[in-house]
Symmetry: C2
Subunit: 297 residues, 2 copies
């Protein structure tokens, strides 16, 4: 045991607990195992626990309350509403509040940040929280799809709170560097507005597009679906719990993005209806230029 009041100053000194060993948490465990003192896993699903154990993802598995007491750096890698429930449960964890003398950094990987930030502000003193959101993922989740390079080259957003200590922020940066990711500091509100436009709106469009196509009951239509339709609807296949948690905890920015989107779509419909090639081309051109610049084929 460390002396009471011990606070790690580097990742190598940390006992890291990862709560939720799915795609994100599992990939994190694989990427971090040579960069810290110990990795403690917490996972509700027995199959995922068995997979984590047999593939040496973690040094040991335990439950949430014990992980709070045994770690210096707790990472919540579950869907947003589960993270909110876990943060709420910490208040009732007698063990933590009374037996901890050193601080515990808490970082979450949730896809929306304002609701989680508010819940983190209310945590009792031993905790040193900050928000995080790595901009990566895969179409299929689960620990069996975990990949130590999932985070490599990707943007990892950090949303520190007013109470976040410089030490917690420095260790979060060290963790991001160990993953091969690039940090991006944003306040939670800005993150949520950008995420609405860049991630949640595309998901909503993808779902509505599938629903339009579903209204036609002719197999021939699906036989015409090629790579364009496949890519445009890919997000509709996302995990329902993850996505409904996102939509429910980021309602205002998403509804604002939907409103902006409707205005853009109406303008485009008007250009199509006008039948004027020049105004139509003008409506399409800025989108083509920026998209081509953003993602080189």
């Amino acid at each position: 045991m460390d002396e009471p009041g011990f606070t790690p100053r580097s990742l190598a000194e940390c006992r890291i607990a990862i709560v939720g060993l799915g795609l994100m948490g599992g990939s994190l465990a694989l990427a971090l195992r040579d960069h810290c003192r110990e990795i403690i896993g917490v996972e509700a699903d027995s199959n995922a626990r068995a997979f984590a154990r047999s593939h040496s993802f973690v040094n040991r598995l335990t439950d949430f309350d014990l992980a709070l007491g045994a770690s210096d750096f707790l990472i919540l890698a579950t869907p947003v509403c589960t993270i909110l429930a876990q943060l709420a449960s910490i208040h009732n964890s007698q063990f933590t509040i009374h037996n901890r003398q050193s601080s515990v950094i808490i970082l979450d990987l949730g896809s929306t940040k304002s609701a989680i930030g508010s819940a983190m502000e209310k945590l009792p003193p031993p905790f040193d929280p900050l928000g995080g959101h790595p901009m990566c993922g895969k179409e299929i989740g689960g620990i069996e799809n975990a990949d130590p390079d999932l985070y490599r080259g990707k943007t990892f957003v950090l949303t520190p709170l007013p109470r976040t200590t410089p030490n917690a922020l420095a260790l979060a940066h060290e963790l991001i560097a160990a993953l091969g990711a690039t940090p991006l500091l944003l306040d939670a509100g800005t993150h949520d507005r950008y995420a609405a436009a860049i991630s949640h709106l595309p998901y909503a469009l993808s779902v509505a597009l599938m629903r339009v196509a579903l209204a036609t009951k002719d197999e021939a239509q699906w036989r015409m679906a090629a790579s364009g339709f496949r890519d445009a609807t890919r997000l509709a296949a996302s995990d329902l719990t993850m996505m409904s948690d996102i939509l429910l905890t980021n309602r205002t920015p998403i509804l604002d993005s939907l409103k902006q989107f409707r205005a853009e779509l109406d303008a485009l419909a008007a250009a199509i209806e006008s039948g004027d090639p020049d105004s139509l081309r003008a409506a399409l051109e800025s989108a083509q230029t920026k998209r081509s610049e953003l993602f080189k084929p």
Copy 2:
């Protein structure tokens, strides 16, 4: 020279002219060169002609009017409005109308079929036309990206006209088999409605989505754009001439699809706004189920 009135009964007997040696026409030339008597290329761009010549895509290059006289099977592989102009120009081609005694099958690869079908109906007697639309492509066009396997495993829609002969339809099926594609017979109107929902609507969404994101002038937002945004906006990078030709020649079905889409999006916005997890999940679920069934990861 063949005897006057010669009509080929198999692809192997055909002199095939391909008008437009871009991605689609170039790939067609590569896939067909061992399946027919001769491939004649027609291409306006001198760089593409030089590439076709140096890489043996065709047996010879000529101009449109000469190709009309020298081929048994003419394939129009240009954007929709160029196809319409080419079909109109045939009426003025004295050579063709007066000097041809045998018929010429005309197949186009245009992305919309009603306007082209109407133009084909007006062709003079030596021509035996039908519409086609292979459901494949690539993000980047051009003959330098041509691939003999571009059509393999893909759906190739045929939209025969009332005047299309059984011989032309049989040869089009033989051509599709030679490409390794699968034929799908539809009338032009049905094709255009399905294409609006499955291809033109996703393009419009992709453009409007880019335009929403462009309204935010902060580089941080683009750093958050991950694979979801990349795929959701891929179609916005499509060739502007090809796409504006499509939007201008399929206006009514596209505007109908946009109307259906707005209704679906409004329903989804209402479910998000309600904050009720069950009705939200119900709105997302059918799209997820069908998308997962359509495209196995």
